[in-house]
């Protein structure tokens, strides 16, 4: 990175963080620290919700996915607008009526203390683990590509996020996220414009789209019922709906964002903002990856985008094998470039027959090149089995560093940092607020002053931030950690959603029934995970359905009077507050 890039990067990050800290200084009560005195307008809430969901990996993996497989991943988001409508109509009014700081607090109002604790603990375990990954994942990629020290990168990103999240609480998180999203979208639009300008030096834009189509990169929608097709309209609508419903409706890192709204209307509009814009945004980010793929049809891509994976082979006795693979990769690129140019000419003269045959030739060459890349990955794994060879996450940033002008590189690195900070800030803020409100204030030290709880929530937020940094520092020791954390999330999300849907939809069900139903459902989900090969997205549906069904069943068999009436704790307990 050049000096200009460093100025753009550090200037952007520090300006946003310092402005956020200055604007939100002096929080002395929980109302302000956790809910920003209910002053946030819908635009800030909408951007804050969007920034919380979009971590750094979104802007690294998604273009990489577009580059390798095309647009089909956009279908994963089809259930999101429907989920946000349900959250807006059902969850938001309930949370505002109950005047809660956390979503789990609502469970005590509706059921009982043990159900609240169960919901809070499930969240703390799952989100506590993933908070470290949110920092680790971009840090490992940046350190690989830029040669930065991994530990220093983790400490710098983690330290920055702890500083402003502890200082200003939820309002600081929301305010910084608004500006971070502005930087993110500006950076992505600038990158897209530069890539399009580069590609159109070779071929017109419409021809480029035709080539991407012939390469199978523009298939955005599939109505296939084939269970082997991973991304379809059906999986996106059903699996995506339950995942989004649980995430936006019950996960405190999201609930905390829209509880800062000046009214239910402001919070609802913030969610509708996301319902309208999320799919076009994901489409755009994937499309950036497709354009990078087109760019690399005219400029030779590296054999593997993760250059540190190749460095180990270069220093080993197998370096000769690597050079042979690189020679085959280069020869295939030259042949493919000619085939792509022939395809472009066929498309421009509307010669469908030639376009079909040239398209097939390009696809064959792509498959042969992919086989060479797979051989290279196998070679890396043979030399050093500990090295992860998947380089999807490295595609976009490799392109940025090699081909974007000075200054823009700094802006794009700032995009990655902004995304990492914004997602982490929501997570540790939510972990701090849940621990303070649902455990410390309710169980450990009830009846203390507001100032005491604010001090404690700052301390607990800092502790969670430190734990996230600690986890990130040791994350590399655990193989396939990112996937493990994703699976862990899906194992819990269905049960948590089941608790809340029971609260909203099954009015006759009481605390004891739903508590044991949730425990049984969680045990069943874990047993299914250990004994079957069901895709983990489906555990969201299964866990939720089991809680709803078992809670209804248990309520009919439990003796009358074993529980208090539903909603019987609608007023906060006299001692211990919330």
């Amino acid at each position: 990175m050049s000096g200009i890039d460093w100025i753009v990067l550090t200037g952007t990050l520090l300006a946003i963080v310092l402005y956020g800290m200055w604007r939100t200084r002096g929080s002395r009560d929980l109302e302000r620290y956790f809910r920003g005195d209910h002053r946030m307008r819908w635009g800030t809430i909408g951007l804050s919700v969007m920034a919380t969901q979009a971590s750094a990996i979104t802007f690294l993996s998604t273009p990489g996915f577009g580059y390798e497989k095309g647009m089909m991943f956009v279908q994963n988001y089809l259930g999101l607008p429907l989920a946000l409508v349900i959250v807006s109509a059902l969850f938001i009014p309930a949370y505002f009526r109950a005047n809660v700081y956390t979503s789990y607090e609502y469970l005590e109002r509706r059921f009982d203390l043990k159900t609240r604790q169960l919901g809070a603990l499930l969240f703390l375990v799952q989100r506590g683990l993933s908070a470290g990954i949110t920092i680790y994942a971009p840090a490992i990629i940046l350190s690989n590509l830029l040669g930065w020290d991994l530990r220093l990168t983790i400490l710098a990103a983690g330290g920055l996020v702890i500083a402003y999240t502890v200082s200003g609480g939820s309002p600081a998180v929301s305010l910084t996220q608004k500006h971070q999203m502005a930087v993110i979208m500006t950076g992505m639009v600038v990158a897209f414009a530069i890539i399009v300008a580069d590609v159109t030096k070779e071929i017109p834009f419409t021809t480029a789209l035709g080539i991407a189509g012939k390469m199978g990169r523009l298939e955005a929608m599939s109505f296939s019922f084939d269970p082997h097709v991973r991304y379809t309209f059906w999986s996106g609508m059903l699996g995506g709906l339950f995942l989004a419903l649980s995430y936006f409706g019950t996960d405190q890192s999201q609930v905390g964002r829209y509880l800062t709204g000046a009214s239910t209307a402001e919070s609802r509009l913030g969610l509708m903002f996301n319902a309208v814009l999320k799919i076009p945004m994901q489409f755009f980010i994937l499309f950036v990856g497709v354009m990078v793929c087109l760019f690399y049809q005219f400029t030779a891509p590296p054999l593997l985008f993760k250059k540190t994976a190749l460095q180990a082979v270069e220093a080993s006795p197998r370096a000769g094998d690597l050079r042979a693979l690189e020679a085959r990769h280069t020869a295939l690129f030259e042949e493919k470039r000619e085939a792509v140019r022939s395809l472009a000419m066929a498309l421009e003269r509307h010669d469908d027959g030639a376009a079909a045959s040239e398209g097939q030739r390009v696809r064959d060459l792509l498959a042969r090149d992919e086989a060479v890349r797979t051989e290279a990955k196998d070679l890396v794994a043979q030399v050093n089995p500990a090295v992860r060879t998947n380089d999807t996450d490295y595609v976009f940033l490799t392109f940025v560093l090699a081909f974007l002008p000075k200054g823009v590189v700094g802006l794009l690195i700032a995009v990655i940092f902004c995304a990492a900070l914004s997602a982490s800030a929501s997570e540790i803020n939510a972990l701090g607020s849940t621990t303070t409100v649902d455990l410390y204030k309710r169980l450990v030290r009830p009846g203390q002053s507001e100032r005491h709880y604010v001090r404690m929530s700052k301390l607990l937020t800092a502790v969670w931030g430190a734990l996230a940094i600690g986890f990130a520092l040791f994350a590399g020791l655990v193989e396939n950690l990112i996937e493990a954390v994703n699976i862990l999330g899906s194992l819990f999300y269905g049960t948590i959603l089941g608790l809340f849907l029971t609260a909203f939809l099954l009015k006759r069900v009481r605390g004891t029934a739903v508590f044991f139903a949730a425990l049984a459902a969680e045990a069943a989900v874990i047993a299914l995970y250990l004994s079957t090969a069901i895709g983990y997205l489906w555990f969201n549906v299964i866990g939720c359905a089991l809680v709803l069904a078992l809670a209804s069943l248990l309520q009919t068999v439990l003796p009358a009077g074993s529980d208090r009436a539903p909603g019987g704790n609608a007023v906060a307990p006299a001692v211990g507050g919330r």
Binding site: V85, F96, G213, M221, F233, A265, I279, S449
Partner: protein
């Protein structure tokens, strides 16, 4: 301190009846959002067919 505590236990901001700034009612706004989802599905389907 007392002021702080009073604010913390104050009733929630309850404006549930407040309509959205456009389309008049929330059900209409939700229907429009779901209509937008349908339109996006249709456009992405047509996009897929055009470049398949």
């Amino acid at each position: 301190m007392k002021a702080d505590e009073a604010r913390a236990t104050a009733p929630p901001i309850e404006k549930e009846a407040e309509p959205p700034p456009f389309l008049g009612t929330w059900p209409r706004l939700y229907a429009a959002v779901l209509g937008w989802l349908g339109l996006m599905v249709l456009l992405m389907h047509l996009f897929t067919l055009r470049y398949r």
